[in-house]
């Protein structure tokens, strides 16, 4: 692919699968993440053989605009270009609204919704100048359906769909596409952190009766990032085993 881009939270779970697939495909990938992601990126690189040299780590929290801008500028200075951005970093802090604190609300919205906005803003002028760019935001099935105990997460993920479509419209004539991928329940640490009974219930509700694998999401992202996918913009691509239609 020979392209350069940033994958936020790209050292673990779905993000790690995205990083691997893109790097194996020839792209240079800057993983942006929190301090523990540095070691995870090292482990990921160790599993990548030849593609390892194309994966690099930058520490930074997507919840802060200045940090996002700083990293985007650094990447641009170092590689000369940013072709793609995958807004994948995400967190959960589950409680029913009755028990959810204002801090839990704000923390999840800050990472999952403001993060993609900040990162997009940080790379957008550069993409407009070059008349080329691919942005993929990782939303969630929960953004369509809502979910018990996830008012903050569901709001953020539904918000990501609105953000995606608006940015897509604003830069449609600039060679930049902006799309969202909405995974169902995927076998990652995020799902492993759910109570066992809740995971079992999610599987029972899913028509294919299984969790998805991170790679099954990554290949949809890879498809949308392709140069030839230029006519796809403002779309939400579901990959959920039939869980929500």
């Amino acid at each position: 692919m020979g392209r350069v881009g940033i994958v936020t939270g790209g050292a673990r779970g779905i993000g790690a699968a995205i990083t691997s697939l893109l790097a194996e495909d020839g792209a240079s990938v800057v993983v942006m993440g929190l301090p523990p992601d540095r070691e995870r990126t090292e482990a990921l690189r160790a599993s990548l053989n030849g593609a390892a040299k194309r994966v690099h780590f930058r520490e930074g929290n997507v919840a802060h605009y200045d940090v996002c801008k700083g990293i985007a500028d650094e990447v641009r200075a170092q590689y000369g270009q940013i072709d793609f951005l995958v807004n994948n970093a995400g967190i959960t802090a589950d409680h029913t609204i009755r028990n959810m604190t204002v801090e839990e609300w704000q923390a999840v919205l800050a990472v999952n919704l403001s993060g993609p906005f900040f990162m997009t803003k940080a790379v957008l002028e550069h993409m407009v100048e070059r008349n080329y760019g691919r942005i993929v935001n990782i939303s969630s099935v929960v953004g369509h359906t809502g979910n018990f105990g996830q008012a903050n997460y569901a709001s953020a993920k539904a918000g990501v769909m609105g953000l995606t479509k608006t940015v897509a419209l604003e830069v449609a004539s600039r060679g930049i596409t902006v799309n969202a991928v909405a995974p169902g329940f995927i076998n990652t640490d995020m799902v492993a952190a759910m109570p066992k009974a809740a995971v079992e219930a999610a599987i029972q509700k899913s028509p294919e009766r299984r969790l998805g694998q991170p790679e099954e999401v990554a290949r949809v992202v890879r498809f949308l990032l392709d140069e030839s996918s230029g006519y796809i913009t403002g779309a939400v691509y579901d990959v959920n085993g039939g869980l929500y239609m």
Partner: protein, 246 residues
Amino acid sequence: MLKGRVAIVTGGTRGIGGAISSLLAKDGAHVAAGYSKGEETARKFKEGLEKGGSSISVHQGRVDDPTDCQRVVQEVIDKFGRVDFLINNAGITIDKTVRKMNADEWHQVLAVNLFGAFHMTKAVLEHMIERGSGRIVNISSVIGETGNIGQANYAASKAGLFGFSKSLALEMAQRGITVNCVAPGFIETEMVAAIPKAALDKVIERIPQRRLGKPDEVARLVRFLIDDDSSYVTGAVYTVNGGLDM
């Protein structure tokens, strides 16, 4: 690579269907392309692909005739042994406002665009279930999401495909068969060439990217969805429209 795989593409000898047939054939599949009329076009299409080394057969039949659907599917299974992919792409338009549209014009469009997908699906489904694997992709349209003046019949048929696909996806979810829709915007084919120039300019004005799509841009999405590795994508609608439906 799709070596050893067999695809049926209805309306597969020109336009979007032609691009799908070409891409799947180039990737190694045997493609059985259906056509209703235009034997000459079909023959030339076949010769063109064969020259490029592809494995392709063309089959005359009407998707609105269940007997034709059964016959063509049987032909393909007899000759090529299996059907891995069904792409329901055949479609027609007969545009009139509802006030002017007669029952026959309504029925014809539904019969090809929606009933056709049902008849073809019925014809391959038991075979796919027996094999425990299959991919069905229905070519819907942005018009199925948005509606369009003068296209009540077309919009209803294409929206109907969403409901059809999702129901079938649910029924097949544990049988290794995925069912999805691709919803293209306005794509440069004969169907769009039939729109008067002034009207087409207006359409392009409304597309955020200010351009028509190309058949290949739709075909590669179909290729993606029929992949073995796309098994977690089912009951989905994947749009490709330059931003038209926002």
